[in-house]
Amino acid sequence: MTDPKIVIIGGGSAGLACALALYQKGISDVVILEKEDELGGILNQCIHTGFGLTRFKQEYTGPHYAQRFIDDIMPYHPDIRLGATVLELHPDKTLIYSDRTGCHTLHPQIVVLALGARERTRGNIGIPGDRSIGVWTAGSAQRYLNIDGYLVGRKVFILGSGDIGLIMARRMTLSGATVVGVAELLPYSNGLTRNLVQCLDDFNIPLHLSTTITAIHGKPRVNAITLCTVDANRRPIPETAQRVEVDTVLLSIGLLPDQVLGEQAGLLMDPRTRGPVVDDHLMTSVDGIYACGNALHIHDLVDWVSLEGEKVAQAIAESLQSEAKATRIPITAKGKLAYILPQSVHDGASHLTLNYRVTQPMEKAVIRLVGDGEVVLTLPKTRLHPSEMQRIEIPHALLSKIHYNWSVELSDE
């Protein structure tokens, strides 16, 4: 097998957008490796509407959004290898993948990590109690129900008020299960108002804020949980403990970028995003390895995931044309910012989009951009929420003036 110049790992929305944009630019020496038997990634199980409003000015379901890209890419006769799981990625970009015919080694010049995210599990937060059957991550339950057609339980409790949990509360109710309640450790919900109304209120499902599950009971299957209110320091208040009878617990407690391959390849990781550190071309600390989508940082809107894939394609196209390497200026996050991405920008870059999240809900806030020690831009912001990724476009006129360091600071007004 001859070696392709470019390998994209993952055929979800990030990988598809990147591949399509490469073909459209006339770059066709590309292989897409996807471990599942179909393209589309997580979108295939997100059968609700709410995808693509920004890009297509139309609300698609997840599978339909993916189909738009698949339909556009097929005429290029892409080299897509399905059922192909990448097992190893080395710093020199040698990679090993397995499929039904065995193990294969490739030596591409460029690798794009588009491998999505993993769900946090019971192990990540350490819920005590029995190791009962019937405890699922919300995403696995979603996959079983929406793709395989199995309902994982009849009497369900959901931990975590993020959108995936809310969407599953509605979906399981409509499929005949009883959703007893949703608990959120924080004093505020992480879900969109629309989902709180249309997934919980519509079906009279209670949302318990500042509440968590302190124990899971039942052998072999869950028969109850202990629910506890937490204090301001998120510590359970024992007197509030109550037993709730359920046969299933869904965990919707967050996603983490899939880091396994990145760590093998020795990429520098950002403890804040939990993904690789990248520059404004979305290139990681290893020359020729790029990252986009949920593998880079967790997204709530697919439109931005697709954009990131396309941005990587643009950067690859430029890198194939010229070897010129400008120095990179570091960008640091300060104050109440959970993270900022990218973590550096090329000196002389023509434009820059910064992505950030906040650590806590803020009614009013101010963002200050500090370049080479001076405040160069002040942006007032309203209603910032940790569950919503924010973007700032930096004007070219500003970019061209700064050569040593950038910092972005978020504070109360």
Binding site: N44, T49, T61, H64, N146, I147, D148, G149, L174, S175
Partner: protein, 122 residues
């Protein structure tokens, strides 16, 4: 007085009450006119777009995701799910295909949202 309605048009999430005894109806708690229109629609005729799956034969997977072509009355969600449970379709289908015309009445169709090839054909 009716239960307050949480406005979902923008992230502010105003709590709006609708007084349906006056003519025209009066809304309270909305910070803008878009909220008033939403709250009145929610009171008069609340509707939701239904997404679900139906059984499919001949495809690589057993379920095909579907959507109603327009929002249906909120009170009909469960009965519409019941109708879906009795439906089986056959591959191939294309995303966007109308599977059942006028499925929910009022000219609202049932539409497939995923392309599934017939994997059993020779």
């Amino acid at each position: 007085m009716n239960k307050p309605i949480t406005c979902i048009i923008c992230p502010k999430g105003c709590q709006i009450t609708v007084n349906a005894e006056t003519s025209p109806w009066i809304t309270e708690g909305n910070a803008c006119a878009r909220g008033a229109a939403y709250a009145i629609q929610e009171t008069a005729d609340p509707r939701r777009t239904l997404t679900a799956t139906v059984a499919i034969l001949g495809a690589a997977i057993p379920r095909c995701p579907v959507v109603t072509s327009a929002p249906i009355p909120k009170g009909e969600l469960l009965s519409t799910m019941d109708k879906l449970n009795h439906l089986t379709i056959h591959a191939p289908v294309n995303a966007g295909d109308v599977l059942v015309e006028n499925f929910a009445g009022e000219g609202i169709h049932l539409v497939a949202t995923r392309t599934l090839e017939n994997t059993h054909a020779a």
